[in-house]
């Protein structure tokens, strides 16, 4: 082989090198995105963010049901917390390939501040105004649930913080806090002079604002120890409802109003006029 004949081979070798190098470069570029496209941890956070609200609401419903029956707050909280622990276990199991570390803490929270409002009682032509002092409502650190019942302003609430370390995806320290509540204000009671009808005006709110889907079947009213049928329940917007009861006894009254919202959360107000 003479020296002139080696030139095409050298050119061919260089050309081959360029082609293979180009192929390898484009190969790396094409596979590069898959190594960083890990969305499992995003799915997990979306799932936790949406479902923790649901379990907190369901557990609050469980807590209020138990408290309504037994009147034992600690026992009711213990029962409700079992559901939250079950939820935590379900998540740990479902996302075990991601080495999930999930922590739910009863961080406590001030749910509502102290306030004052006026309760109007009208019987025939006479009107009496009562000033209702609403004390601040707090869920103490260490508890997830609390309720303040048997007052003109009553409330049931739950609050918890959750934090996640997704070790498999190297995502650490995601955390958030959630609150669920149902509050009831009794603002006006009107009884006509013939005792034919009593009208009770009440305001119902949840953590997202006014409750607009209360059903007449979910309202229970007791007057002076006797349960009364609710004749009608009319909604006037912004959480304001008007419940009527036919044929009531003469005053004075001790009225218990128990409401259950569509989530199953119970709240009970008591008015003495």
């Amino acid at each position: 082989m003479n020296s002139k004949g080696q030139l095409p081979i050298i050119v061919a070798v260089i050309l081959s090198g360029i082609i293979i190098f180009s192929a390898l470069t484009s190969y790396k570029v094409s596979i590069f995105p898959k190594t960083i496209e890990d969305t499992d941890w995003m799915h997990l956070i979306i799932n936790v963010d949406k479902d923790f609200k649901r379990i907190l609401q369901a557990s609050l419903a469980n807590f209020t049901r138990s408290y309504f029956k037994t009147g034992d707050r600690e026992d009711s909280e213990g029962n409700a917390r079992i559901h939250i622990e079950t939820w935590k276990f379900a998540f740990s199991l479902a996302y075990s390939p991601l080495s999930l570390k999930i922590s739910i803490s009863p961080s406590g929270s001030i749910i509502s501040k102290a306030s004052i409002y006026t309760l109007q009682f009208k019987y025939g032509s006479s009107t009496t105004l009562y000033t209702v002092y609403v004390s601040s409502f707090t869920i103490q650190r260490g508890s997830i649930f609390n309720c303040s019942w048997d007052k003109p302003y009553s409330i049931s609430a739950s609050h918890a913080s959750i934090s996640l370390d997704i070790i498999g995806s190297k995502v650490y320290g995601w955390n958030n806090s959630y609150t669920s509540l149902l509050s009831l204000n009794v603002t006006k009671i009107i009884v006509d002079g013939n005792l034919n009808e009593m009208s009770i005006t009440l305001i119902l709110n949840s953590e997202t604002g006014p409750v607009n889907n209360l059903s007449i079947n979910n309202v229970n009213i007791t007057i002076n120890g006797i349960q009364r049928d609710v004749g009608s329940l009319n909604y006037h917007g912004v959480g304001i409802y008007n419940a009527t009861i036919k044929n009531v006894p003469p005053p004075p009254y001790t009225i218990f109003i128990t409401l259950t919202d569509s989530r199953g959360i119970i709240v009970r107000s008591k008015v003495t006029v």
């Binding site: 050119v11 050309l15 192929a23 484009s26 094409s30 369901a58 079950t86 379900a90 199991l93």
Partner: protein, 154 residues
């Protein structure tokens, strides 16, 4: 033909073999890791998760609360309507029930497979993806939904 001429021919042949060989290697390298297939699996994972996220509250919650008749068929019909015809699915639903403070029971809820996979499924599978979704119903029952999606040729 003299000796010098023969060498030229051999050199030319070696050159052609080198160039064609390198091009063949390059083409093969690029064909194997098709980026389309890689993204397809991720997209199936996302599709499965988004589907569970969207339908769990309004539809599956209602079906699971009532559990009347062959409710598994209702979910199967729903998924079959929402997914393309070239995507097969298989869904399993588990429920977590607390017995006491230290015992939790996990049981499979569906009595038969929620799937549109034919019994003798032997078709070419392009790619498969799956997602898990934990869902708490309004009455406090905790479910784990597992959805697998399989994309086939055609």
């Amino acid at each position: 033909m003299n000796c010098s001429g023969q060498f030229r021919i051999i050199e030319a042949l070696i050159t052609v073999i080198l160039v064609i060989g390198s091009m063949t290697i390059a083409i093969n390298i690029q064909r194997i890791p098709s980026s389309w297939i890689i993204y397809s699996r991720r997209e199936l994972d996302d599709m499965a998760f988004n589907l569970l996220d969207e339908i769990s509250v309004p539809t599956i919650s209602n079906i699971l609360s009532n559990q009347t008749g062959k409710w598994e068929s209702d979910i199967s019909l729903l998924l079959g309507t929402l997914l393309p015809k070239t995507v097969y699915f298989n869904m399993t639903i588990y429920e977590f029930t607390p017995i006491n403070e230290s015992t939790i029971v996990m049981k499979m809820l569906n009595r038969f497979a929620i799937t549109n996979l034919p019994g003798n499924f032997v078709r070419d599978i392009y790619e498969s993806g799956s997602a898990i979704y934990i869902f708490t119903s309004s009455n406090g029952r905790i479910y784990m939904l597992v959805l697998t999606l399989i994309r086939v040729k055609g």
